[in-house]
């Protein structure tokens, strides 16, 4: 009886721990991960000293739409409703995976009068979408964009 309870307890603890970890990316050098108080709606959030922000979150969805569907929905919303400019949309494979099943969108938009860059990586899963986002002032973003892209690919 005690052994059964212990097994169930460990299993529950393990599942809780797995669920609690959420989805994460490998944060590049120069970024600091934020604690839960400043994480907001995201599972993981990090910021650089120059104001570039990285974040990951999981969105539960119905149906089984692929990454192209979600990429188009995101692009439509941001360009039509927010005035963002879509600069590129490209297939994306997570680090260590061969087949690309995600998409990386690159937007530009003014914020507080200054040009900004906004990247969204989408990975479609049967019941959810993994979203990895990065944004910041163009001047601060451009020099570290390769590292930021690597971080968006590192989501697991």
């Amino acid at each position: 009886m005690h052994r059964t309870l212990l097994t169930v307890g460990l299993l529950a603890l393990g599942l809780t721990a797995l669920g609690g970890c959420g989805d994460r990316m490998t944060v590049p050098e120069g970024f600091v991960e934020l604690d839960a108080e400043h994480r907001g709606i995201y599972d993981q959030r990090a910021v650089s000293a120059d104001g570039v922000v990285l974040a990951v979150r999981r969105i539960d969805v119905e149906g089984s739409a692929d990454a192209d569907f979600w990429a188009r929905a995101v692009a439509n919303r941001l360009t039509q409703a927010r005035g963002y400019t879509l600069e590129s949309s490209e297939p994306l494979a997570r680090a260590g995976r061969r087949a690309p099943h995600g998409r990386l969108l690159r937007f530009t938009a003014p914020r507080d009068g200054a040009p900004h860059v906004y990247l969204v990586a989408l990975y479609a899963q049967p019941s959810h979408v993994l979203l990895a986002e990065a944004g910041g002032p163009r001047d601060a973003f451009a020099p570290i964009e390769p590292q930021v892209r690597d971080a968006l690919r590192s989501v697991r």
């Binding site: 907001g40 439509n76 919303r77 941001l78 938009a109 003014p110 914020r111």
Partner: protein, 256 residues
Amino acid sequence: MRQGILCALTVLLAAMGGGCQMLFPQVNTRAEAWEGDDLSLGSAAGEGARAMRVPAAAGATEGGEPAADAAAQPAPDRKILYTAQLALVVNNVRTAIEQSSRVARTLGGYVEHMGNARVILRVPGPRFHQALLELEALGTVTDRRVDARDVTESYQDLELRARNARTALAKLEDLLAKAKTVEEALAVEREMTRVREEIERLETQLRSLGSRVDYATITVTLTPVPHASRAHRAALPFGWLDSLGLDTLMTFNPCH
């Protein structure tokens, strides 16, 4: 001798187009026409001026002529003054203004005026057509007006008048050298002052006209997409799409 100087002055002025009171009357008349902001030229209508208003939906002139023909390359020695007014509906006015400015700078032009919803661009004449195409791609064109005016004769007329005025000034200088009395010298100098002013005015007009020919003027008026249209096009039932964007990502609100 005095009578000789005055006689020569009278003959010179008469040859330039009238007596002392009527020196360069045509030049003065035309100068008034050039000084306003309106690009319309008094004499342009008789010189092959073309003005077209192109409904966006039609994509062609009222006569069925392709709109792009207005920007067709003229003969090299012709002076063509291009102007255009574009009205665009865009998703984001501020972004579109920045993009319009970038188009002008990329093509070797510059921004002459930038307002909240209107930008006036100057682009090199030979890049006028390309600039129009790139600007039209920034949104939905609701109005498009293109004017191409041949101002060659006006330009040549101004050049001729300036040349004649300079010749007259040289002759007046000769007369001044021959003046024997103060009265004669003062009379000649008065005329020289008038002629110098005319030369200055003509040269200013020439520079202004030359600038307008070298750099076409494109006025872009921007209007945001109506909210109703946006809502209609973006009514997907996925609330999380609203949480995307820089504002959510870059705002550190503990209650968020």
